[in-house]
Amino acid sequence: MTTVWVPCDAAAVSVGADEVADAFAAAGATVRRNGSRGMLWLEPLVEVETDGVRMGYANVTPADVPDVLTGSAESIGAVEDHEWLTAQKRVTFARVGVIEPTDIAAYQEHGGYAGLTRALAMDPAAVVQEVIESGLRGRGGAGFPTGIKWETVRSASADLKFVACNADEGDSGTFADRMLMEGDPFSLIEGMTIAAHAVGASEGYIYIRSEYPHAIATFRRAIEIAYAHGFLGQGIRGSDLSFDLHVRVGAGAYICGEETSMLDSLEGRRGEVRAKPPIPALEGLWGKPTVVNNVISLATVPMILADGGAAYGSLGFEKSRGTSVFQLAGNVRRGGIVELEFGIPIRDLVAGFGGGTRSGRPIKAVQIGGPLGAYVPPEQFDLELAYETLAENDAMIGHGGVVVFDDTMDASAMARFAMEFCAKESCGKCTPCRIGSVRGTEVIDRITGATDDGVRRTQLTILDELCTTMAKGSLCAMGGLTPMPVRSALKHFPEDFGITEHADADASAAAESAGDIESATEATGGARP
């Protein structure tokens, strides 16, 4: 009987993978459900396995099933040899798309739980040291060194400590956390368990956004299986470590991706931002020391412990060590997951892997790092994708999402949308964010609707001051970074705001104050809101 792999990833399902899987089953094939390889433009990407080789068939519909089974359909060749994959450096995503997500035996055959096994034989301080040595930085966007955070929690004395995973991946253009939870959930469970051992935590919470029902279901199933195999609970794998892991589901609030809002939400309260200090590492969940990390950060830890911090640290670019899981999204011909060492130029990602726009029109800009990230024009596509390189150019890498726009994009509409989004999703605790965002939409409307340059000049000055107030005065990065897309849109595309040469000086004055944003990032310690 023929074995056919049909992805169960939500993206594949959104374009018909479940119907295709049913059709293969009805035709008598053995259907196995893997995660997605991340070549999303090919979904549903079906793989027919013969003698260990998995031949790929792209964009399969139920009507194609007979031809795929007889071999008369056109194949894209062996999937593992596809140049889009061979050109990548898959570390965190090594197993995603390859194995069945909740097959714990396959997980172990592919290197899973080697990291935990080694960690459990090590002193917690040595585990932390290994993570510090790897140079791993927070993949949620803030880029804080993971090992340093762990050391703070480890050295805090408390009767109870927590590990909290932030899986509230709300940034538009990002889907790596989702695909990892759906495609290789045990790597995250293993990473959280290693964190628990390293810092002395006994309970873990993962906060998954409600917009990800597939990820929630897969992750809950994976937790049950991990308990059944002794990888969670009391005395894990015969060691002294006891660790219980709980899923909590968000409720449609973007702000809960900000770590302190998430903590309040986990505690069963309104997801309002907390002032820092105290930092969550010392006073986090229910006032106890808490490790808060992003999904990708934690899912990378097993590999670091299995192969050693030095191995991971040998990858990367300047102070951005290791790999980054980029997500190519929006108006792009070949969208999906591209995991590479840090340092690839934007152009190689967008034009090389992405193949330009889906519409076939010229690229006008890419927005990097989610709704709070900058719009970057093609003139800057030689910039390397790394934390510092982008920060030095008034942009940020965020969670690695890259959204492509063609030349029909209206930059003033996107700037207005940034303010509108902030107004809708602000937690309301601080004034610059709550009120400033509403005023921001009004001011941008006045700029684009201005009948003469005098009015426009006045409003540009107001917008500039407003952006400065939000960047410097907001409690967290939501209000603090909303000026980033606004200012970058204004700086690179003044013509979309109706700005003629006469008003150029003012426009650039408004756009050039982007230094404020840097201070906002530093003050709030986070890029993800």
């Binding site: 959104s14 999303l40 940034d171 538009s172 909590r248 589901v249 449609g252 519409s359 999402g401 996107m414």
Partner: protein, 156 residues
Amino acid sequence: MDDARQSQPSAVREHDVRQLAQRHLGERGALMPILHEVVDRLGYVAEEDIPVIADVLNLSRADVHGVVTFYHDFRRTPPPARQVQLCRGEACQSVGAEDLYASVTSTYAHAPEVEVREVFCLGNCALGPSGLLDGRLVGRLTPERVAALVGAESSS
């Protein structure tokens, strides 16, 4: 959503909500899981549920009310027969989500059984415009595909 759930006598509803809430009492931060379960099972959080949940958790009504109203997911009115949520995130906007949203909203403006709402990102950003149709994720949407999906499922 079947009518029985919406027209439940309040004494029965109170009993159900209390039982449901009590099952979560051992959990840390139980309020969010309780509210999710109320919406999953009863369709929405009714005004009369708030004092019941507050009583079980020993919270003030204001605390519970504050949480219910903070989050988009905790709807406070019975759900319509069909729910269409369309993504308005930047990635979906880059492939026409704003036009799609405007078109679908106007198509169902006078159809009380179909509710069209905006949502910001479903994590399907390479296959946009994306949406949730009665909770099911769908990609590469066009006005025609939305109409076909709404039509197909209401006749099934």
